[in-house]
Symmetry: D2
Subunit: 131 residues, 4 copies
């Protein structure tokens, strides 16, 4: 079992939502979620918190592929289109990384490859101090 | 039953997470969530998606108190402190509003009033066109 | 003279900063700025407001290539590396666009193609109402 | 001369824009700018880069009042109203601070106290390592 799968298996909220790993490689990750009724908001479309969480988990997987634990410190999301059924896909990609900070862009699509949201994430690495 | 309660009752994902209304007034809303195991991430602290969702729902309630339906188009969150047990509280307040856009700040605290996160939300109102 | 050049020539603050158009096409724009002493901050590196403004103008050019005037309503920038001399380049690209909103990502590089900052912009189009 | 004045005097870009300190105290700062023609965009209103820069400098002053140098790593701004003449005022206030990160909210007003923009800033402190 690879690191990304291990990481995701240890994350109760991802399981609760039904978020699944599609692929991951250094600095990148693709995840997906099958929309069910519990994911909806009062308009009958997927809740912003669900779209955010899918993007956030893709960001977490991508930013933890380096082996140095990273925690999210800031994220920003723009919602462009509502989604109400089918599968959502989030693709995370590193923009830039240094020993302390990592910056990622995540794009969220529906199954017809329509653009749902774009997410920017900043992670802080608690790298070990040099002796 | 007031509008904010009606709004929240119609929101399946808020129910799923256990988000509850504390108070609301025009342009403002306070919500809370009791942390349980399903809300945690792989570090054993509350998942960023849960903290975000609580803030996002507070923003949604505050931005829908005007009677004109508003949808989130952009949100930004900064995480300052991890939380792992107890109750989280989100307080949303309108910064500014015009016929098309509403801007809100949401502060998230734990039950000891420690600052967990700060959230900025922008909502778009699909106001009816003048005849 | 193309639209992007006309747009930029009519923008006093861009001129003041020395921002120049490199190329533009529908939904895209590349701009540059030669760093001089007036662009610096108290640390002797390029001021965050200058890096932001370069990215913001690239976003403005890219979001105004469609012919429908667009105004910025939200922007977010993450700074990954300081820059102190040479030329900065900003590349803006549309993520998604609909009749009301346009979402853009802008990457800022120095002349050695090192990643300086990443910017996310949301524009609102005051499209004419259908009769 | 206090620390905030010294900080601002050492910042060439702030001088270039005409940004002035009104007041500062630990974790807070108020700055202002008199709008002139060079601050405008192609619509004849104050350029987003100018409003941003004013907010950003207020954030920089507020986050450097602690004595530990802080650098901006992420900022987010929502524009609610255009401004074209008079004086702009930016009020920065700390949301939360720890040894590594500081989070700030900045509100921008015109001289009639109309709300122009709201800004969220995250600063990273390169605190000295314990011996």
């Amino acid at each position: 079992m690879d690191d990304a799968t291990t990481f995701l298996n240890a994350d109760p909220f991802s399981k609760e939502l039904g978020i699944k790993l599609v692929t991951s490689s250094p600095g990148e990750a693709t995840l997906q979620l099958d929309i069910t009724d519990k994911h909806l908001n009062s308009h009958g479309t997927v809740h912003g918190g669900v779209i955010f969480s899918l993007a956030d988990v893709a960001f977490a997987v991508a930013s933890n592929t380096s082996g140095i634990p990273a925690v999210a410190i800031n994220t920003n999301i723009t919602y462009m289109k509502a989604a109400s059924s089918g599968t959502l896909i989030a693709e995370a990609k590193e923009f830039s990384s240094n020993p302390k900070l990592g910056s990622y862009i995540v794009e969220v699509y529906d199954q017809e490859r329509q653009k749902i949201a774009v997410f920017q994430g900043l992670a802080y690495r608690r790298s070990p101090r040099r002796q």
